[in-house]
Symmetry: C2
Subunit: 342 residues, 2 copies
């Protein structure tokens, strides 16, 4: 804190927590109840398996980060239109559809400590219920009636699909470089964060400059979030918390820590990486060896630095907005997403 600000009086509100999602969660708690009610209502179908399967993943305790961003962005822009509830539900439906398809693509059996939908009901049902949720999202957007929102989320959906296919192409390929990795995460993750935030400015009918600021904020926030997610998959702290680590390694998914460790590794180390992630020939102790190599080459630290740079940019994106509670919670959320251990 600069010396000349040290003695400024604190505001009457709570002292700011450094890096927490809680202020955001508290700010939008009531709004999020409305969103959850819409999600619950709109995942219904006369075809019984649809609400069963969708309910499983919707109830599985995700953070609801994307719809919270839409709600907070709308508040940041002074919206009081309530349109944001249904649109936040659309964002979550699109996210949930991609999770269902991701778990099929990754052949995952656990998500957030629970069995995945494909593990319970099979890949077929997961693919088709994902299609249902995706279609339902567009149906809800049409009912809202904004072509601007429809453009944002159809563009984001195309970009997400491109990012997922691009990721599939880089899987098990140690020749993947940092740029390809960054393209993948921006497309598969950050594009939806970006649209989720921009919708806030759209429903508030703010000028284009605010839309652009929120678009950039969401993109930088999303990139930071995904980078940290990928770092945590090799994190000893995460393991200490009882979370599974090493999923990406076992699948041969190429993330930045691996890209950096591979690029900086000796020929012998490169052979190790190729055996593990290209040939998927993995033995006991390989994950520990991978983490040790990442630490030796500062791959985790430098990945985190990259995440921090995105986070700093996300903070700067918010500078055009006046100080208000929504802005405060978003700044805290950025810190949380970078410094979180889970």
């Amino acid at each position: 804190m600069p010396a000349d600000r040290r003695d400024l009086p604190r505001t009457a509100s709570k002292p700011p927590l450094s890096g927490s999602l809680e202020p955001l969660q508290e700010l939008v708690a009531d709004d999020l109840k409305q969103v959850n009610a819409i999600i619950l209502e709109k995942m219904q179908s006369p075809v019984a398996l649809i609400p069963q399967l969708a309910g499983h993943i919707v109830a599985a305790g995700g953070k609801r980060l994307r719809p919270m961003l839409t709600l907070a962005a709308a508040r940041l822009c002074g919206a009081r239109a309530q349109r944001e509830y249904a649109l936040a539900a659309c964002v979550e439906f699109i996210h949930t559809a991609t999770l269902l398809h991701d778990d099929v693509v990754d052949d995952s059996h656990l998500r957030r400590g629970l069995e995945t939908a494909n593990a319970v009901w099979g890949n077929k049902a997961s693919v088709l219920v994902g299609d249902f949720l995706f279609s339902r999202a567009f149906q809800l957007m049409v009912a809202d009636g904004s072509l601007v929102v429809l453009k944002l989320l159809s563009d984001a959906s195309v970009t997400i699909a491109e990012g997922e296919v691009h990721q599939l192409m880089t899987a098990n390929d140690t020749a993947t470089d940092e740029q390809a990795y960054l393209e993948v995460i921006e497309a598969k993750t950050a594009a939806l964060f970006s649209a989720a935030c921009e919708i806030g400015a759209v429903v508030a009918e703010r000028p284009e400059s605010d839309q652009l600021a929120l678009r950039s904020f969401g993109l930088n926030f999303g990139n930071a979030f995904q980078l940290v997610d990928d770092i945590l998959d090799y994190s000893a702290e995460q393991q200490a918390l009882g979370k599974t680590i090493g999923d990406d390694f076992r699948e041969g998914k190429i993330t930045l820590p691996l890209v950096l460790a591979f690029a900086r590794g000796s020929d012998e180390e490169k052979a190790f990486w190729r055996r593990c992630v290209e040939d998927l020939e993995q033995r006991d102790g390989d994950l520990e060896q991978a983490i040790a190599l990442m630490q030796r080459h500062d791959a985790l630290r430098d990945s985190k630095d990259r995440a921090r740079r995105y986070a700093e940019q996300a903070r700067r994106d918010l500078s055009v907005f006046p100080n208000n509670p929504a802005k405060h919670t978003l700044l805290q959320a950025i810190d949380f997403c970078v410094e979180r251990l889970y």
Copy 2:
């Protein structure tokens, strides 16, 4: 032909063929070239696998029946807006996305005599490129800018997904009745035919009565089309043409011929059906036995009659439109779809 019309002079155009897709194909040939150009352009992506995989299925020689219906319906309504080209491409993209996901769900390896995309590139890529095409369809609709069209195709997409999940629930279940079967085909197939046709009235800015007539026409046409598709899977004529038959039987997919033969079968026959389609314990000669039982109980004939009744209703739906070349080709297309052998 009524006696009093026997001596009317023939028109200068070709004599009408009874039951042919050719008049429709000729009518819209130039328009369809525009549609194909849009399909080719819009399936491009910087992610190389997307146009590769999409090109494989798009080029695999489908009939393009759904986009042709949009084009012919637009002509029937006197549209000359050219908006129908992009919208017909949307319809085909949605159809293609469902084919890609269907082939994953059915674990199919052949479609129209060619290897399926999932057989060549794997299930993962097929799921994700399906998502891409689906998203691209909505992006194209947004560019067109009609909320009416967006509503038609987002509603249809929800219905298709519901129909696909419903079909998954009836698979391998001989308790499936005729009503459940008819609900499945109306949702998974006829809903998109219906929307494809209704779009023709929308782009021509015709009154709602014409929209409703085309909606009903498409629904009845689609139901007839799918019924005949399901009958052909047990057809000796189809087999004589060198086509594979028995795919539905081998998967335990429940279609009307099977529903009727099961309901009319003896206890011993019911045990046969249960072994084959519930337990999927199939032996040499079972398919022939299944066809023989269907013939013994008139299950194929009665299914065909049901298709004919839908086709008659589709003809009646067109009665509100003036006689013009488009109407003529649609009537021929109905006959083709019911009487076709392939």
